[in-house]
Symmetry: C2
Subunit: 360 residues, 2 copies
């Protein structure tokens, strides 16, 4: 149809500026909800409902939408959805390292539990100083996750303030601190240290040692261990306790070296509590290399009950934490909270157990 039925106005001097100069379309993303809606012959809202709350939609529409989605390979853009609904379905976790005994299991469990509830995990690693950690917290807050899980991370005062100000649900998961930021799923380092000291003293050990990482988390256990050894209820006679510190992360090698240091500083040490099974394996290995018998000459207790603890020789006595449960509870608390439910019990002590094996 080339007939100029509606003639365009021929240039009259300078053309009047059109009121809405059509600007270049922004780069087209992929296919959108609207296109699916057109294809299905329904409104955008019906597509949204068919995808998110299918029970609110008639069978007819459901079928049409499903067909359109199928044929286009449409995957809804959750960034847009998050912005509109103010729920990101993203949860952030910050741990010192995913390699740690408790954290690895907790992160795995978090991922699994969140996935089952249609949420995803964003993972951050702290442990490079306060400044980086605060920057990391801001990066996380900027994404408006539905929750933040802190594993063994003690935020700075400033970080803590921002966390609170953000209004994002927070679950701390390491120590049973007195004044949690928000929710808390943890275990008591003091209780563990006391229990292990008592366990060893009851078995006749008198010269105790503690080997742990050079960070606050291990330090808490160390001081509680020493205190329990020297002043605890099990104390009947002369007991000594000494602490050796290794540079994090804990390795078999640092465990071996630390035993050397321990024997130099406190000869005759007859029992050692390590802040990780990996360190304990190093201690056992080094003891063997030095002709010390485990447990006759020296008893060794680890932490974490890693998979190898039961199967090395001698098998390791260790402290077991149910880290999977920690992850599950943290995930549930956050998801419940973001669904507007009141979280019944937001402060849980998951406890611990001492698994007694050959090394003691």
């Amino acid at each position: 149809m080339s007939a100029p039925s509606n003639k365009q106005p021929v240039a009259a001097g300078r053309s009047a500026p059109s009121p809405l100069p059509p600007r270049r379309a922004r780069v087209a993303g992929g296919i959108t909800l609207l296109e699916v809606a057109r294809l299905a012959g329904v409104s955008a809202m019906s597509v949204s409902r068919a995808l998110n709350t299918p029970e609110q939609v008639s069978a007819a529409i459901l079928a049409k939408v499903r067909a359109a989605v199928e044929s286009t390979g449409y995957v809804a853009n959750r960034v847009a959805g998050s912005l509109a609904s103010q729920r990101s379905r993203l949860v952030a976790a910050v741990v010192p390292s995913i390699a740690g005994p408790v954290f690895q299991e907790m992160v795995q469990s978090l991922i699994a539990e969140l996935a089952a509830r249609d949420h995803q995990l964003m993972l951050g690693q702290s442990g490079y100083g306060t400044q980086e950690e605060d920057a990391l917290l801001d990066a996380i807050i900027g994404r408006r996750p539905d929750g933040i899980v802190l594993g063994g991370v003690v935020p700075s005062a400033a970080g803590r303030r921002r966390l609170v100000a953000s209004g994002i649900p927070v679950v701390e998961t390491w120590d049973m601190v007195q004044d949690p930021i928000d929710m808390l799923v943890g275990f008591s380092h003091e209780a563990i240290a006391t229990a292990v000291a008592t366990f060893l003293i009851e078995r006749g050990r008198r010269r105790l040692g503690f080997i742990g990482g050079n960070h606050e988390r291990a330090a808490r256990r160390a001081s509680a261990f020493v205190h329990s050894a020297l002043h605890g209820p099990a104390r009947e006679r002369e007991i000594s306790a000494h602490v050796e510190t290794v540079v994090a992360p804990a390795t078999v090698r640092s465990g071996r070296q630390a035993l050397g240091e321990m024997l130099r500083h406190q000869p005759g040490t007859d029992a050692i509590f390590c802040s990780s099974d990996v360190l304990a394996l190093g201690v056992v290995t080094e003891a063997a290399a030095r002709g010390l018998r485990v447990p006759q000459d020296i008893a060794v207790v680890g932490f974490g009950d890693l998979d190898f603890a039961a199967d090395v020789s001698p098998s390791l006595t260790t402290v077991r934490i149910d880290s999977t449960r920690i992850g599950q509870l943290a995930a549930r608390f956050i998801v419940s909270r973001s669904e507007g439910l009141d979280v019944e019990e937001a402060k849980v002590d998951v406890g611990f157990s001492i698994v007694s094996r050959e090394s003691t």
Copy 2:
């Protein structure tokens, strides 16, 4: 002021519908860019620029904005930013388990490298069957990450298609496959298997064994190992090779059990290649328990060069992969791509090395 200066119209039948009935305001989020702009006395764009591209802004505005941000504790909403800019600054990674020898290090390195470039990592775990894996991929695609890193995950044909259709940059990081989906940073399982077989045969071993997980990744190495042993260049005389499979994940325990099976099925086995150092530790432990000397009676090679490999006794000969480099390259490729740069070499073989220690 109770004087009715402007009398409200008394109900005149049904009141005429006002053209724009003001609806209830949506739940207010926190503080927004616009409020910061008002506080600073500048436009929203100036705040945006001051935060994202400070070099494009005058010192005066920069100062005003900084002050306003400081006083409000404003943290920009990246969900909105992502939607507007079509860049999420999120990268997704999928691994069978974060506990695996290569993956743990790769994930750590990914997190660190991405954080340095102002990106975050979203982590998924596959390994629960094709159906869950495809669902996971869809959940990831829905978030429109700037890239997806696949670690030891071989997507189904359907998953592969969706990945390609999504247009999201993908880095595969496990095997040097022939036809990568997109980018590739890996190493050759075949080359490793051949090298280890040759290594063992050259040292006089004749009855070889392979112990690996019951999944495709290990299976590739297993068959290449057997093939190299039976048909490889190093073959001078009678050589046998046998494969034992353990249920994933690999543990010290399954390594111990597998050695038992191996000796039952192929008595006189004098060298074993394990698909993980953890399995190798189990084999060494079980050998000791059975009175077999390592390496005199049986040589053991692990995989991963985990931190304990050098420090257990006997120390483990193992295959070392530079997983940190894999993570770095993957992160760089993706970030570069999302910045519109052409990625120079998008197919990298990071190689491997055999670290020879006491166990051989």
